[in-house]
Structures are given as C-alpha cells and as structure tokens.
C-alpha cells in the first residue's frame, strides 16, 4: 500500500531484525559496513525532492519512497522449468540463481567449474574472506547514495565471482523475484576479474509474478591489470516493478570492459552505470537498449570517469518508446586534469513510436584536460515515412514494415552481442516487448 509520505519505519524494523539474526554470524568488518550503509540510508533518505535535485530531475522516486514492501526473510520455491521458460538462452552457462534475494542451489549449476569461483556472497565471505573484504563496498560505496547504502545494509545474499583464469563459459547471475506479496529485494554482485583474464557475465533480473515489487540492485566489478569483462545486464522485470540499479566498474591498467544494458522491464526504473578508469591503456564500450511502452519510465545515468590518461570510452544507447512511456538518458564523461589522450564518444538515439512517448536525453562532457578527443550526440525521431513507404511499395504491410524498422533500429546494438543464443533471444524479445506488434512479433 502506498503512503502519503516517505516511510522508513519498515526498513528500520526489518534491519533491526536482520541485525539480530546476523549477530555473531558475519565478520565484524561486514557488520560495520552494513551498519554504516543503513546510517547513510537514513541520513540521505530517498532522493524525492523535486527541486534542486539534478540527478533525479526527470525521475520521481516518491512511488518507491512511499511504497510498502515486504522484506523476504526466506524465499519462495521456484521450479527449474519456470526459470528455463523465462531465460532459454543460457544452456551450457555457469548459473547462480537467487530467489527473493536468497541463494537457490537447486536452480544453480556449474558452480564447481575450474579456474573460477562462482559462489553465493554469504559463502564467499567465509571461504574467501580477504578477497571479499578487500573489494566489497569499495566501488559502490555506502556514501554514494541511499540506494547503495540500504542495499549494502540489507542484502540477504548475492553473487561472488572471481575469475582467476580465463573462462570460456559465460557466467549467468539470475535474480528472481517471486510472486509472494510485494517483495523488496537487494540483489548484490561482486565480480573480481584477475589479471590477464577474460570473463563473460550475464545478469538477469526477472519477476515471476506481475505484482508491484521493488528491486534495489548493486553490482561491483573490478578489472585487474589486463583483464577483459563482457557484461550483459538484462532488466526483464514486470511492468509494475520498481527497479533502481547501480553498476560500478573499476578498470585497472590495459583492461577492456564492455557492457550491454538491455531494459524492457520495470515500470519505474533507474539504472546508474559508473565506470572509473583508474589507470591507463584501457577501453570501455557501454551500450544500452531500452524498450518502453504503456506508462513505463526508464532512466539511465551513465558516468565515465577518465581519471587517468590514454583511455578510450564509447557510449552508445538506443531507445524505442511507445505508448505514453518515458525514457531519460543522462551520460556524463568526465575528463580529469592530466587525463590526456582521452578518446571518448557518447551517443543516444531514440525512436518514438507514439506521439505521447517522451524522452529526455542529456549527454554531457566535462573536460579538464587539453589533449583529448571527445564528442557526443543525441537524437529522437519518429519512424521515417520514406522508409515505411519504400517497404510498403514492395508489398510489405505497414505493421510488418514497422516491425522490420524497429528490429533494424535495435540491431545496431544487439549485433554486438557475442553470445549467439542470447542475441537471437533478445532480437525476438525486443518486438515482443511492444504490445502494438501483438502476435506478429518474435
């Protein structure tokens, strides 16, 4: 039930209960980290101010702040077939699944693969204490904002991935929210890609029901010198879900990070993706595809911090908007003093399928170095009438022509998906996400 004002009481009650349950079971550093996370949460509060709140100017999180959610102290049972039907692309992958924030071993597979540690975070805290302590909360710090704070305090479990050798098998982290009540979950992932190693990581957020629930997700990825990470973040939750996500990436020397943020799900969504170039010789390629209809609201804020020289970043997001949906794109490239030979480009292109759909696109560059190559662009437009006529003049009916043009628009992003089964699935899913195409999609 929604309240008339922001409410923190339930979070406080749940957090106290968690403190009692966890007493003596978690190491002191983690207890301290969680406590400071909750302190920050209560101190920052949800960013609901409608004035002077630049980072949240276009996204009103009052429905989240005033919502009443059930913290799942345990999890629902989910059948493997229900999962397979929803995510049919991960055959042969290593999979770690969390249901309502709790590790679900019966839905996980391949966790004993050699050369890589894929484990629930709760287990890694015990089995890899030094590694987890060294990295958890270091990139997504509790003082970033209230969402990271409360996630740090309250996450039940998460995924820990340490790629110690090059692993050909992709790792799939699945965060399911069940259809019990109106859960609030705090998915958490910590990914450590060791020197000179390669990792393909897929994160999928899905809902099993169609009720309102709230996901507050945090993923931390650190690339040690020479590491490569290909990251796919798939937001597939139901259109009544609230989702706030933080992806924070730390790049060492000579690293390559690629990200595709694919977003068709969620009713009210905000995803912050932050990349820090902490050394030289690295590249980051961040792509995104958001597909909205009905009254969905999807906001992406991408920040690339060129703190050091000789790094290259490419940021390319595309949006397809229908109905009375709304999308927000904010991209900021910081080029710090001394970060010479920075090469950065960012672009956001939007296809508006209805007159009621709306996009606010704000790419920005903040450059404090001299010897750099930077650019940005943003466009929003309707389906080109010329293209539609051209296809019709060949006998293709307008609906099929639109379907083609929408898939064509998305393909520029999806062609970059290196996992063939995933690429095919996303291609089909993109038009399925738009109700206007009905049964013709896919």
């Amino acid at each position: 039930m929604a309240q008339a004002v922001e409410t923190y009481e339930q979070y406080e009650t749940d957090f106290r209960k968690l403190q009692e349950q966890r007493a003596g079971k978690e190491p002191q550093w983690l207890t301290d980290l969680r406590d400071s996370g909750f302190e920050r949460f209560l101190q920052f509060r949800f960013p609901v101010e409608r004035k002077g709140n630049e980072g949240w100017k276009y996204t009103d999180v009052r429905p989240i702040a005033r919502g009443s959610f059930d913290y799942p102290f345990d999890r629902a049972e989910v059948s493997a077939s229900a999962l397979a039907a929803r995510l049919p692309f991960d055959s042969g992958f290593i999979r770690i699944a969390l249901v309502d924030g709790h590790f679900a071993p019966e839905l996980s597979t391949g966790l004993d693969a050699p050369g890589i540690v894929v484990a629930p975070l709760s287990e890694a805290v015990r089995s890899q204490p030094q590694l987890v302590e060294a990295h958890l909360g270091k990139y997504a710090q509790v003082n970033h904002d209230s969402f990271v704070g409360v996630n740090t305090a309250m996450h039940s479990d998460g995924a820990f991935i340490h790629a110690a050798q090059a692993v050909k098998t992709p790792v799939h982290v699945v965060y399911l929210t069940s259809d019990r009540g109106n859960p609030v979950t705090f998915p958490r992932a910590l990914v450590v890609a060791s020197a000179l190693n390669e990792l393909t990581l897929v994160e999928s957020y899905i809902s099993l029901g169609d009720q309102n629930h709230f996901t507050d997700a945090v993923t931390e990825i650190t690339l040690e010198d020479g590491a490569t990470v290909d990251h796919y973040r798939l937001l597939l939750e139901n259109p009544n879900a609230f989702h706030v996500g933080h992806v924070r990436v730390n790049q060492g020397r000579d690293t390559n990070y690629a990200n595709l943020s694919y977003e068709t799900g969620g009713g009210l969504v905000r995803v912050d993706t932050d990349v820090l170039f902490d050394d030289t010789g690295s590249s980051a390629a961040l792509r995104g595809l958001y597909v909205t209809s009905g009254d969905q609201h999807i906001d992406n804020l991408v920040t690339i911090d060129h703190a050091k020289p000789h790094n290259t970043s490419r940021l390319y997001y595309k949006g397809i908007l229908d109905g009375s949906s709304k999308a927000v794109f904010g991209g900021t490239v910081f080029v710090r003093p001394g970060a010479d030979k920075t090469d950065a480009y960012q672009e956001d292109k939007n296809l508006l399928l209805s007159r009621e759909a709306e996009v606010d696109s704000k790419p920005a560059l903040e450059i404090y170095a001299d010897d750099v190559k930077c650019g940005h662009g943003a466009t929003a437009g309707a389906i080109a009438e010329d293209a539609l006529f051209y296809m019709q003049s060949r006998g293709i009916d307008p609906e099929q022509a639109m379907l083609f043009l929408v898939r064509g628009f998305a393909s520029e992003i999806l062609d970059g998906v290196k996992l063939a089964a995933l690429r095919t699935w996303l291609d089909e899913r993109t038009t399925l996400a738009l109700p206007r195409f009905g049964e013709r999609a896919g």
């Binding site: 051209y390 060949r394 006998g395 293709i396 898939r407 064509g408």
Partner: protein, 265 residues
C-alpha cells in the same frame, strides 16, 4: 499518333484527367495516359515538369493530393489502395532515390516482400535455399556482389549500386507494371547497360513499363513504344522513338509553346 495496342480488355494503366498538388502547388495539371500490357512508355520532360510526381502518385507515395481525375489499374481504381496493396496487385516503383534501411538486410527484406506478394496470390512461400540461390543468380546478372545481399538495404551502397538494387528487386518481385523513376540518372554507361539489360529481361507480354527519364540515352538500350513529353504538368506531345531523338537535338523549349489542348496520348 501510333496506336500500338492490340490487347483485349482495359489497358493495364489508365490515367484520366489527373490533377495532383503538393501542399498548395499544383504539379500535375490534367494528365491522360493509357498503357497496355506489353508496352513500354517513356515519360520525358525537363526538371520540375512533374515526371516523378506521376510515378510516385501511381505507386501511392504519401504527400501528394489528387484534386481531380483518376488512375485505373486493370480497370480498377488504384488511388483507393494503400501502397502495399498496390504492390500486391502488381505495381512496382523503382525509386529515384532508393531509401536506406538501417539494420534490415537486403536478403531478408526481399524474401519478406516476395512472401507477402506470393501469400496475397495464394501461393506458398519460396523455400529459403531456393530463394537464396535465385537471389544470388539475379544479383550476379546485375553485377552486384552477392555479399551485398547480406548487407543492410542500400546502406553504404554507391549511387549505381542502389539503382541496380532497384532493378534486382524488380526482377525478384516480378510485378506487372513497373514504374522506373529516373533509374538511369547518375549511371555510367556500363551500369546503364546492365540496368537496361535487367529491364529488357523483365519486358514482355503481360508486363508494362512506364519509364521516367530526363535523358534519351537510356532509350538507346530500352526501345520505347511511345514517348510522352511532360511539360509543366501536362503531356504536350506523344510520339515514337524519334521524338526522343528530336528532344535531344532541339531541347524542350520548342514544345513549351505547344497548346496543352493539342496534346493527348
């Protein structure tokens, strides 16, 4: 006036007293034209005379307003049909400026179009393997690299490649009425010959071609049955192949004085 029709029934295309405007400007000011199956008619005229408008309005391109007159295709009102319904009925327009379709591969585009046409005729879809074989063979005939079939429609194609790709579509989709809107413009002589070969291969009984051109050069390779001269939205003269040659040597000015009332196809 040469009379070439020996067809039975209505002409394939009949344009009667057609007036067409774009926004508030009248472009076609009363065009009459009759094209029978088996015939090739050339529409010639200076820039801005309304040649492309005529081709586009027959194909159903949006942006034009018919203020008077009618267009009959096989005796039926064509103007009430959507562009895709016209295509399924057998009308094809080779565009003056073929449109780029980002993210849509040539092969998939053409196969979908052919399937749509066949489905409307109650025919089964062509198996993918057979289609690909046929497409590659036809591409080769038009001097197009089969690799281009895997590329996005017209994206990154040269001007000449785009025009040849239009003729490839003509060949694959095999319509009844082909409207060629300045398909020859911008082609060098070798490309022109290739395009003409493609058009001539299409030509035959049961097919009609309306060839819109600015230059008589293409008529050296595609012999028209009739040449119509369109000036300021009206057909001012119609004649045989020799009319095109006369236009080449004398230009259009001598025809501008002709009274529109005297001209009819």
């Amino acid at each position: 006036m040469p009379v070439l029709s020996n067809a039975e029934g209505p002409p394939m295309l009949e344009v009667r007293g057609l007036h067409v405007s774009v926004v508030d400007t009248e472009i076609l000011k009363g065009v009459d034209l009759s094209l029978n199956a088996g015939e090739v008619h050339a529409i010639m005229g200076p820039n801005g005379s309304g040649k492309s408008t005529l081709a586009n309005i027959i194909a159903g391109r949006p942006g034009y307003i018919v203020t008077a007159g009618e267009v009959l295709y096989e005796g039926k009102n064509l103007l009430s049909l959507t562009p895709d319904a016209r295509a399924r009925a057998g009308v094809f327009l080779a565009l003056q400026y073929p449109v780029e379709l980002p993210g849509i591969r040539n092969r998939e585009f053409l196969r979908t179009a052919l399937d749509a046409l066949r489905e409307s005729r109650g025919e089964e879809a062509v198996p993918i393997r057979d289609f690909n074989k046929m497409l590659d063979a036809k591409a080769k005939e038009l001097d197009l690299d089969p690799d281009m079939m895997k590329r996005n429609v017209n994206e990154g194609f040269s001007g000449g490649e785009k025009k040849r790709n239009e003729i490839l579509q003509l060949s694959v989709l095999d319509p009844k009425l082909a409207l060629l809107d300045e398909t020859d413009s911008g082609l060098d002589i070798d490309a022109l010959k290739v395009v003409a070969k493609g058009v001539n291969a299409f030509r035959g009984p049961g097919k009609a071609i309306l060839l819109v051109t600015h230059y008589q050069r293409i008529l050296d390779y595609i012999t028209p049955d009739l040449v119509h001269v369109l000036i300021d939205g009206r057909i001012v003269r119609s004649g045989g192949r020799e009319l095109a040659l006369e236009l080449e040597s004398r230009g259009y000015d001598w025809l501008r004085e002709e009274a529109p009332a005297e001209a009819s196809a």
